[in-house]
Symmetry: C2
Subunit: 461 residues, 2 copies
């Protein structure tokens, strides 16, 4: 519990309409997409950067925990106030698009801007902001940067970090800093923006972002390849991309995922297929898209594709992507609790990864539907636990997940391609990092935040 | 001077053939491309990562300065042993290409591999490593990463940091760490690779790099646009790129640069032009290149281009790029000492930047030929000092450079687009960074290197 003098001090900074300790507010900020719950002691909505600075300076002096928060849509608990303290929400007063600079293909935004709103605004001007996490309709750009969010278009266009040119942030001691410039190149000083990206709100509170935009491609087309086996599909992915084609997206659904979507939405997907690949190409000239599609078809067919369907119009295109976008909610038919991970491996290791996940499914007796961004080796792996209220069963689910993490690392992969570590993957950091590496993380954390006030306990730190 | 017990200890680590203190060796490692000279006390050539670790651990215990060095081709003194101590050279035993993984479009290399040798090896396999600093024929990939080198192809393909997926490094205390994974996405833990890039050898010694490759485009074509004035040329640059064309390169030479190249090489460039733009487009389909070239021509013509010449064959293409590649050595006709900087601004500020550099030329009475990578706003600005032995004249040269740095920062630009800070720009850090920002840099430096043994005195730290 936070002493009332602290509440008064915070209220003085942000005004009484922007500091709350009532139950309704505390409940509204106690959760994220993990569905874990931790109640904070207070919520503050700073109105500007100076107030963020004043809050941090005050909390640093009094060693009060601060948890920065965007939309709270993260999958690993990064925005959860797991040690109580003050939630610093940027959603209310930091949601302005400050500038869309069409001369330089650059935008300046506040961190609380919702990803999709930003995408729509830049697309009106013929520009393009590619990072498209599944949460794009509600997640914020500040949250995207703090987790280094990916998305379907990463296969061609990269991830959030590839679009952050510069930022403003407030350090735990209240110091306001800028990092990077409104230029494509900048090698003066340490790459502070680079270390803040994916730091999960543990090092600083981002107050402004300068983002790179690109010209919006004039045309796009989508296609689906049907495969008898998951191995064939995974071979088709890496061999297509190794042959020199770079599709915008190269997504897959395994058999369980296909069947779940069909059961729920009846979109006419091939329920007996081992896997499908859904892919998209884009460009300014129709000839380029034709060429890429025919090359993709050839590579797919060489690797056991039984059917290659190109969407003929926007309706067919929409149907294809509907299946992909709705798979996550559909697979809940397999179990009440979804232990959902986003391991990533080099693309050529995908066939082995999927085979070994299948072995884990048999070993532990859980269904493990998989889908995701195979174009960059990122597989959303969902261990479905039918009766999570049974503690033994749930423990077996976690043991299964831990073994899958170890397999990913063994295949030269990572614990997380886009969701981050937060709380939920913190127990597995030892699988991926040595003691020396953890020591370095801790030294960096101390350099920014010697009093450990900012989002403590996350990332296993 | 290093005590002989230290020399013996280092010799014991690397063997007597790999530790040198004779005058010839010390002289060979006292310089870089700045032509400043600082003699080290010893040179060591570690044979493997374990030896790098042993050297650092020993030097850390005994607080001995270590300066990591690749080819010593930097423009800002980053590899100079300005406080004496031990030069740790990676050129002799760290020059292997360890793996070119064609399945995943990824390579693993040691840091002493020369950029161009690596480019050639991957291109033999139909792959492409775009970063092409002007020093590519002799600079090493480790040096490129430590300075975050750019190059001509950055306009389309980005810079070194965009190609570093992972690395191995040794910390000042001797700890060996890995950072990043052999995957396109990895958000587990802090982005250590991101902070080591451009850290100029002040935080760790890189011992291995995992680099992203892309498919090599099948075709490329080049063209030159001639402009009556530099302002017209700069407007053409940013308006072309804002209109949605992304050429591989968009380079410029101003009138002084054109005239210098002509005087030396007689390539038939237009000596009375205010500026020329040399540009290149690439792609897999000839139609794309045709389309891009005609769009570029249209944008150029709208902005005062008086002549647009497309290279008809590889000979004409080679001639165009010859002029660009040889401008740096040609402009030495304007003065014995070249105060050479690489300021970078948002592209739309290029017209104003070039106008104001011209004003500085008139104010200080120096010729200031400019050329460079306008496609990303990066202008190589050369204050030519005819009589540097005249101390007043040289001081005026530095005053002029300082004023130009301040103009770049005022135009939302940076002190350095690709050369780094090192020693030569350290006095100007206060123009670009606040005390709070410098404090943060120093805290990060301390987190990695509490005894300040690694490349001390660089970057104004």
């Amino acid at each position: 519990m936070l002493e009332s003098t602290h509440i008064q001090a915070l209220t003085q900074i942000v005004g009484k309409d922007n500091c709350h300790t009532d139950k309704a507010h505390l409940l509204a900020y106690c959760y994220d997409a993990t569905r874990e719950r931790y109640e904070p002691d207070a919520i503050v909505y700073p109105r500007d950067e100076a107030e963020v600075s004043a809050i941090l300076r005050y909390c640093n002096t009094h060693k009060i925990t601060i948890v920065p928060r965007g939309a709270g849509s993260g999958f690993t608990g990064g925005a959860l106030p797991s040690s109580g303290g003050v939630v610093l929400s940027l959603e209310k007063h930091f949601n302005a698009i400050l500038e869309i600079d069409e001369k330089n293909l650059i935008a300046r935004v506040q961190p609380g801007v919702v990803n999709k709103i930003f995408q729509n605004e830049v697309e009106k001007r013929g520009l393009f902001y590619p990072p498209d996490p599944a949460s794009q309709d509600y997640s914020t750009l500040g949250g995207n940067v703090s987790e280094n969010a990916g998305g379907m278009r990463a296969a061609k266009y990269g991830i959030t970090k590839d679009y952050v040119l510069a930022l403003r942030a407030v350090l735990p001691n209240g110091d306001i800093i800028r990092a990077g410039k409104k230029t494509i190149k900048d090698v003066a000083g340490y790459n502070i923006a680079g270390i803040l990206i994916a730091s999960e709100g543990t090092l600083a509170v981002i107050t402004e972002l300068t983002l790179k935009l690109i010209p919006k491609p004039k045309h796009k087309r989508s296609a689906m390849g049907v495969f008898a086996s998951i191995e064939d599909a995974m071979n088709a992915v890496y061999r297509s991309m190794a042959s020199g084609i770079t599709p915008v997206a190269m997504e897959f659904l395994d058999q369980l995922s296909i069947q779940a979507v069909e059961e729920r939405f009846h979109k006419g997907l091939p329920k007996d297929a081992g896997a499908i690949l859904i892919t998209q190409v884009d460009g300014d000239l129709p000839e380029v898209l034709e060429s890429d599609l025919s090359l993709l078809q050839a590579r797919f067919m060489e690797n056991g594709c039984t059917k290659f369907v190109v969407a003929k119009d926007s309706k067919e295109e929409e149907d294809l992507w509907f299946a992909r976008r709705n798979v996550s909610q559909s697979i809940t038919i397999y179990g009440k609790k979804k232990l959902n991970e986003d391991i990533t491996v080099p693309r050529s290791r995908l066939p082995e990864l999927l085979t070994r996940i299948q072995e884990m499914s048999e070993k532990y007796g859980f269904k493990i539907p998989c889908f995701g961004h195979t174009g960059d080796g990122n597989v959303h792996t969902n261990v479905m636990v039918p009766n999570p209220e049974d503690k033994d069963e749930l423990a077996r689910g976690y043991a299964c997940i831990e073994e899958i993490f170890a397999i990913a690392v063994e295949l030269e992969g990572t614990l997380s391609g886009e969701h981050g570590i937060g709380l939920s993957k913190a127990p597995f950091m030892h699988l991926a990092f040595t003691q020396e590496e953890m020591n370095l993380f801790k030294a960096i954390k101390r350099a920014f935040d010697p009093n450990n006030i900012l989002n403590p306990g996350k990332m296993g730190l």
